[in-house]
């Protein structure tokens, strides 16, 4: 397992576009942005407009927090102090199951896996889990493998 993340060395500073997203994570909900005009979904919510139709009438879509690992890296040399005791850890891009759109667009998010490097592979299913931090306003979403799949791919070097 990766080591613990020292959240005392991180200051998450929500802003106008993201404060509701962080509030939702405190309630164990994983949100993505959704366009009120055309229904397109995206992440992260720092983008204030719909890239498909340019509407700025935006809402939230509550996902089930489940998806498939699309790519990943294994951080060996830490850069952010909070992660000095965490290495090696896997950051993954996850394609969400319930955000696939009729025109083929998907929504992918990123996060730190709970699982260790040897367990992670492209193609595996995973789900969000929530981790308390030292800041009562911030709950951090992380990701955990929750099943198996055929044809998965793992970096073995």
């Amino acid at each position: 397992m990766p080591g613990p993340i020292d959240y005392s060395k991180l200051r998450i500073l929500p802003d106008f576009d993201t404060v509701e997203w962080w509030a939702a994570t405190r309630q164990r909900k994983y949100l993505v942005r959704q366009c009120k005009a055309c229904g397109h979904k995206w992440f992260p919510p720092t983008f204030p407009a719909c890239a498909k139709c340019a509407s700025m009438e935006v809402a939230w879509f509550e996902t089930a927090g489940k998806g498939t690992i699309y790519s990943y890296v294994v951080v060996v040399q830490p850069i952010v102090g909070a992660f000095i005791g965490t290495v090696p850890y896997v950051v993954a891009i996850i394609e969400l199951d319930d955000c696939k759109e009729a025109d083929g667009r998907v929504t992918r998010v990123a996060g730190v896996m709970i699982d260790e490097e040897s367990e992670v592979a492209i193609g595996l299913p995973c789900e969000v889990v929530y981790e308390e931090t030292n800041d009562p306003k911030i709950v951090m979403p992380r990701w955990k493998i929750n099943g198996t799949a055929s044809g998965v791919w793992r970096f073995t070097e």
Binding site: R11, L13, D15, V73, Q77, V80, V91, I93, A110, V112
Partner: protein, 409 residues
């Protein structure tokens, strides 16, 4: 052909040494680089009336440099930018001179990229003690996912998955660019390396090892652009600007990982424009330069710009294809991987020197264009250096290009 193809030239290039650390201000380094570029062109400060630079909130400005050197400018502007901005500012210079805003323009970049503000936000001494995550960084610092190596690694990993390529292809690029650095007295790293050395080097962030990553340095670089008519009277053979593209974007930005393919990068959208403007095809290109912040970025730019098919770059670079005296030499100064890190401009500088036939190597007569072509004796001048295709990169989502030719082409 572009309406302004071959009408504008690069006539001067200059740089400070690559330092670790410089113990100097970015203004001091910029003044040195600009002065050297002026001397290289055979111009005096009063002959230049336009200046521009790019930075990331980490550098001095054109008005400071012009004031320090006693230049009265008709046009000065400094932009926020990064990798691929150097090529973009060459395009700006052409337009500004054509429109009459100025006649001769200096472009510079000055950065304490090692001892000052480092790419990815780490401090010179190591990890960031306490990190503030605001704006876009709310969705990466909190996940310990900040540096270019960590971010580009996602695209690289998916590339390996999609294509069956292995990191031995990354090694080919590290070896080729290092070999060129062995022929460059200015380079930080001048000891040759092998594929095995690359494969044995320590992991930074999988799939990238130490020898996949560039060398952060403190440095300033400058180039001078003017019209063809003025260029003929200056010190060196002119290098003609044939075409390019500038800060082309993908369909969604680098911090949005939902686009169709992570490794379908911005160059894919630009290369027909640059080849069309230059009026050439791939087979006319004698050598290339790539923004080699990482080995992988070189690989993917060659593919994006059509030098090989999608997913074929791993095969394409095998067997030393990118090395001097082989099919498609790349980054003849050693590039970011082995010479030092200048945010891209050093590639333009080296390409200009090669096209002039005046690579500043170990040959005693290099300044007069006299070269031995003996690699054992330290000559790095290409025998045939008529047309160069230079590729810039600013994350996966942003790319530039500059196609140059020398007098012979």
């Amino acid at each position: 052909m572009g309406a302004l193809t071959d009408k504008y030239c690069i006539v001067g290039v200059g740089e400070t040494p690559h330092m670790r650390p410089s113990n100097r201000t970015t203004l001091s380094m910029a003044c040195e680089a600009v002065s050297k570029a002026l001397a290289d062109a055979g111009l005096k400060p009063g002959d230049v009336d336009g200046m521009t630079s790019y930075q990331a909130g980490d550098s001095t400005t054109s008005p400071h440099v012009a004031t320090a050197l006693g230049m009265r400018l008709n046009y000065a502007v400094d932009i926020l930018g990064g990798g691929s901005s150097g090529e973009a500012l060459v395009a700006n210079a052409i337009g500004l001179i054509e429109a009459g805003y100025c006649e001769t323009m200096v472009i510079f970049r000055s950065m304490n990229g090692r001892s000052g503000r480092r790419m990815g936000g780490q401090t010179p001494g190591g990890p960031v003690p306490v990190a503030n995550a605001e704006g876009d960084a709310q969705f990466n610092i909190g996940w310990g996912w900040t540096t270019p190596a960590q971010r580009f690694g996602m695209s690289a990993m998916r590339y390996l998955h999609d294509t069956g390529c292995t990191t031995k292809a990354f090694a080919e690029i590290a070896v080729a660019h290092r070999y060129h650095a062995t022929l460059n007295p200015k380079a930080i790293h001048r000891s040759p390396i092998t594929i095995e050395d690359h494969q044995k080097s320590r992991w930074i962030v999988k799939p990238f090892r130490l020898l996949d990553c560039c060398q952060e340095t403190d440095v300033s670089v400058a180039i001078i652009v003017t019209s063809r008519e003025r260029a003929y009277d200056l010190r060196h053979p002119p290098v003609f600007i044939m075409g390019g593209y500038a800060r082309t974007l993908t369909d969604s930005p680098q911090w949005n990982y939902s686009r169709e393919s992570l490794h379908y990068v911005a160059g894919n959208y630009g290369w027909k424009r640059s080849f069309g403007m230059a009026g050439i095809s791939h087979k006319d290109v004698d050598f290339v330069s790539c923004y080699d912040a990482f080995t992988f970025t070189t690989l993917i730019q060659l593919e994006a710009n059509g030098f090989c098919g999608r997913g074929e770059a791993g095969e394409f670079v095998k067997g030393g294809r990118l090395q001097i005296d082989h099919e498609l030499p790349s980054n003849l100064s050693g590039g970011h991987l082995s010479e030092g890190y200048t945010h891209g401009v050093q590639m333009v500088i080296e390409n200009v020197r090669q096209l002039r036939h005046r690579a500043d190597d170990a040959c005693p007569g290099w300044a007069e264009g006299k070269h031995s072509y003996d690699r054992q004796a330290g000559c790095r001048q290409l025998r045939k250096a008529d047309i160069c295709y230079g590729m810039g990169w600013g994350w996966e989502n942003m790319a530039s290009c500059l196609v140059l030719r020398g007098m012979a082409a």
